[in-house]
Symmetry: C2
Subunit: 270 residues, 2 copies
């Protein structure tokens, strides 16, 4: 699936929910076992429970790398368990020079067959081009993130009158093919999200920071959603850890359903 | 080994060479086999051949991830083959929010037992703190990198009169413990390297960009080396691919020896 397929998928499901599989091997609910096998069993149950409500899944690669070789095997098995009818994002925030970036493209778009990868722009737009040189795969460039450290560098004012994150979005507009270039914009800095939307009217915005981090779904959606270039609003912990008891999958489904219902109402009002 | 042990190690070996294991499975010399097994055999031969001349090794994680689970297994085996008497850097350029960064610390400092990790500052210094909260492990924060894209964001002038990379180095000075915070400064932008050295007089600088990328070893060393806070000058392709014939290990040793001899002369002149 490509980012250009998202409007139709969102229309069909009345949801722009992305479920984040930030699965913590040390924080698994009752009844799924433990370790790598527990993570995989948990992921499969969460995917099964939430797939009626999610248009996208985002897999946080760090949580798998923390388990070493076994973790990469679980990452591969989790990818295999994800429905191809959803948009599948590897959240790895990679950024490196050309020959290295090509390897990451091969790892995530090729070997693991994700539809998209999050990437870090710090080292320059030349470090983003190798992903786009790969035959397929979208990139989500970090613009303004939801953490407090947004203020440290991303939001600094440049001598040219732009904030750093605005400069990132502006310079990325010349990357091609443009329909493969999208952005991460956190829910907690609404002015920044609005600025990104203005600079990149055709880009999908992947929005973390709803829920545990305090972002407001309705405000974010009114600011950033357009049918030309929708939002994907991510929820990780609020869905994954809705319960740590045997009913975790039902509770995750209920939380995903609640978010999707809220999104459906918002979509009606746009 | 810690960064604080580097001056003694450099004094003993008369070398501040870091050999970069950016091993490309599609570009292996004759006689080592192919695929993951070939990469491991090649790495072991290169480590054995270069360890008299190298004080550090830097493993470029992307090249292993590109091979999936098998690649992570080779990364683990490569790590096991690296001498603990050298300073061992995982070049992964990670950067993510707190709970994710903690996982990366666990993966690279814990599971893989590297001495140091390269990290990306874009998301703010709060995303660097989890590495320092881990009981051990140094970080090398990307400041000014050796690629042309350095000009796109890293070198932008801020409204406060600093370049972005200078602001990164300046803000990182308040991270603690300070002796675990170091920087990546490319050999190809010598003014920037000098500025980093001035802002961070006690930090080790990891310097890519000598050799294939055109940086000048003598100039870099005179600008950045101090016994209080040395340089590690990285060479990857010029050593790894000194020959693609059966004599690749001898040729790699010869190139590492040549660089170390040049460093020895420079150290005499400082």
């Amino acid at each position: 699936m490509n980012a250009t397929d998202l409007p139709a998928a969102i229309r069909a499901k009345r949801s722009y929910l992305c479920v984040g599989l930030d699965t913590d091997a040390t924080h698994l609910p009752k009844g799924v076992g433990s370790g790598a096998a527990g993570v995989l069993a948990f992921n499969k149950a969460i995917i099964e429970a939430t797939k009626p409500y999610a248009v996208a899944y985002k897999v946080n690669v760090a949580f798998y790398e923390a388990m070493g070789t076994e973790g990469w095997h679980v990452l591969e098995q989790t990818r295999a368990a994800l429905p191809d009818s959803c948009y599948l994002i590897a959240d790895a925030k990679r950024g490196d020079i050309g020959n290295t970036a090509s390897r990451y493209a091969q790892a995530f778009f090729g070997h693991l067959a994700f539809d998209a990868l999050t990437v870090n722009p710090y080292m320059g737009t030349d470090t983003l081009e190798p992903y786009l040189a790969y035959p397929k795969g979208d990139i989500f460039v970090l613009a303004c993130t939801s953490n407090p450290g947004f203020a440290h560098f991303e939001n600094l004012m440049l001598a040219n009158g732009r904030r750093l994150y605005e400069e990132v979005v502006a310079q990325c507009q010349s990357l091609t093919p443009a329909e493969r270039v999208h952005f991460v914009a956190g829910a907690t800095h609404i002015t920044a999200l609005q600025a990104v939307r203005t600079l990149a009217p055709k880009a999908v915005l992947l929005v973390p920071g709803i829920g545990a981090q305090g972002g407001n779904l309705s405000l974010v959606s009114k600011t950033g959603f357009s049918w030309q270039a929708p939002l994907l609003v991510n929820a990780s912990r609020s869905v994954l850890f809705a319960s740590l008891e045997h009913d975790f999958a039902q509770k995750a489904a209920a939380e995903a359903a609640r978010l999707a219902a809220e999104m459906s109402v918002i979509l009606e009002s746009l």
